[in-house]
Subunit: 461 residues, 2 copies
Amino acid sequence: MKPGSSTGVSCRLLFDRTVWPLKITSNPNMVKTEVAIVGMGTVGSGVARLLLDHGDRTARHAGRTLWLSHVVVRNLQQSREAKLPDGLLTNDLNRVIRDPNVKVVAQLIGGVEPAKSIMLKLLESGKDIVTANKALLAEHGPELFDRARQLGRSIAFEASVAGGIPIVTNISQCLSANQIISLRGILNGTSNYVATRMDQDDLPYAQALKKAQEWGFAEADPSYDVDGSDAAQKLAILAHLGFGARIRWNHIPRRGIDSLTKTDLNYAKQLGYRIKLIAFALQSDSGLQLTVAPMLVKIGKPLAEVRENFNAISVVGDAVGPVFFHGQGAGRMPTASAIVADMIDTAVGRTGLTFKTLELWSDGVPRVEMAHPGDLAGRFYLRFNVRDEPGVLAKLAGILGDNGISIASVYQHTADGSNQDSIPLVIMTRDTTEHNADNAVFEIEKLPCVVAGTERLRILD
Amino acid sequence: MKPGSSTGVSCRLLFDRTVWPLKITSNPNMVKTEVAIVGMGTVGSGVARLLLDHGDRTARHAGRTLWLSHVVVRNLQQSREAKLPDGLLTNDLNRVIRDPNVKVVAQLIGGVEPAKSIMLKLLESGKDIVTANKALLAEHGPELFDRARQLGRSIAFEASVAGGIPIVTNISQCLSANQIISLRGILNGTSNYVATRMDQDDLPYAQALKKAQEWGFAEADPSYDVDGSDAAQKLAILAHLGFGARIRWNHIPRRGIDSLTKTDLNYAKQLGYRIKLIAFALQSDSGLQLTVAPMLVKIGKPLAEVRENFNAISVVGDAVGPVFFHGQGAGRMPTASAIVADMIDTAVGRTGLTFKTLELWSDGVPRVEMAHPGDLAGRFYLRFNVRDEPGVLAKLAGILGDNGISIASVYQHTADGSNQDSIPLVIMTRDTTEHNADNAVFEIEKLPCVVAGTERLRILD
């Protein structure tokens, strides 16, 4: 069969089959770049599949065979979804380190250690790295990137943000003629899946999260996903790339979906909005604003229509205008798609050229200053729990007015006769600042007619 | 001012201002790659603006200054939107050809000649080319690309398809680990603008087109845009890149929006669909299907929500799954964004590496065979004009059944009492093939109860 002849083209997604024996389809007589995989979990098995079962495509796009020489795992006995050809699997990292023919390594182990030590060892032994480990980059990017630069090596990390959506290449290469003005992303699939379940199936947070875990869209410990940390790590990477920021991820103000209530999702929907966990970056005249938080997005806008575990990013460049990307943010084959594209780019030499000019995590002066978070302008959704007595709205409106906040609309749920301690009062504001909204809420919460449990969410315009 | 300091960052789109004096912001002491522009129309002035007014960004991303040395125009006297610094403008192409320091040329003149001769001359004098001229590539791609390969030069053409959406890089580089399964694009902004006006403002085709011309979204002679040719040229380029096809654009079955009626837009809307000009590619088991035609897209699906002059592309890769891109498909600054990104890629050396492995318009064996257009499966919207007499539906349904076509729904407009010669009968079919739909329509149109003017549109699933 000639490689890629139409009879050899499969027209089906590669997602569905989970256990399969992999075969070597690469042409052994073609010029080779030898590669290795360290870590054979979900993503690793997807990468192995593309390299072995579909060697013709990597060969075609790289102009050479990407020849998989070693697959390093911790435990040789563990059962795996992909059955590798004999002789590939090893638990000895030194087999890769001491093999001078291996040029590119897909390092696919999660967490910080031993991932960091392994990456440094691989760089020092002359390997170029491809990784999906955003937590490692977010924590130790400067050290790893400096070391790679010193050694004349590269680290490619397309898969670390938004999985199958090639946002890293798009921002750092395709949109390089632009000053990026803003970036709004749904970057955490778990949170979006949970928010979708809460919205569509009318489930409370805990039940929606349980469903996500049952369906494999949330880890056993989902805290970094649902508290906004994972999205903040990804936003930090994009802020480095797109704006020349030098911020650490844990300095980004963040809030997750773990405190969201069905009540607010329902009010938002009645007002024509969905609540989404948004990673937000804005180049304002006073500097760069970064934040991760659940926000109200108008139904019908592309970001509001991102469902299930999908990711999406809306970027505005000053030349290109708005560009919107939507796709799978995680999962075996979408992530493997990004990893293997990076391996091809690295083998061909493109990554090396890009890496030299990216000022990623360098010690250089940041290109932007960070704006004060309190200055971030925008509209707000405010839900107060108030006692059902005369004059309440006047008091609240007075305090908002004193803080320079105009009211766009008020939504008051009339008491239904049951003996409720308080009733919700929802106020949508006109443009104001984070600072003013904070002050107003602080003062309003001191009123005797206001009960605990205020919600304050940003409205994305 | 240090380049790109936060005070130097503009947070506004570059679209709005149309007349401006350009200044050189590049650092003359930095390592330079000298570049030239041939053709100073709308896009050319945008490119000059990014290179001159925003030299810091190209320098940052290229690791060197892209130094604009010459701008070649046909007529020196013509008034231009951008005022160039002294000494740049010339009407002598030889100034570029004989200047060995100029490495990269943005060739921004439209049409086939003299664009083709100029491109060959530039390649032969050792220049790498960046172009937005899809018509030239669609007509003479093989000759131009072969010549560039022989000479060890490159042609970059991101701007030739979908303007500011970086679809060329995404398909040829970012998604290179995938077999592309399908591609559905809104690739012609003029058609989409006209269809949007027909839909939203309830205008007939001719008036909507007039509005497009008034607003600058359609040329004085819009025939290539509205008859589907422009979209077919772009689809041919994407089919080469994504599927390894070797088809000429004018062999792609195509129909434009110029024969669309408000009647069908309105029926489609009542049934929950919008009609969009879709460039369609599907890798089926019987080969590659390519077609350009107005199709019904379900309201709420991303492609149905693409409004005004925007472009969008939905790609399905077998590993990455569905990826969706949306952005400005034309215009000065979006197109300039793509051109300048290509100039940076070329100056850095990435384009050269990519160009070597792209099998674009090579004489090599195509990777796919073309499927028979009649085999293309799908659902159809059929509108017949029928006489208002008993038994008509039975006759039509009988013929559809004889051709193996099941009916999903029927929509019959009851006569409103006015003395109409015929009434419309709309039928939505279940899955069938182009071939069967053609046969059925052919037979139905022979019925005495059927009046001329049948409409047959594909429904995009």
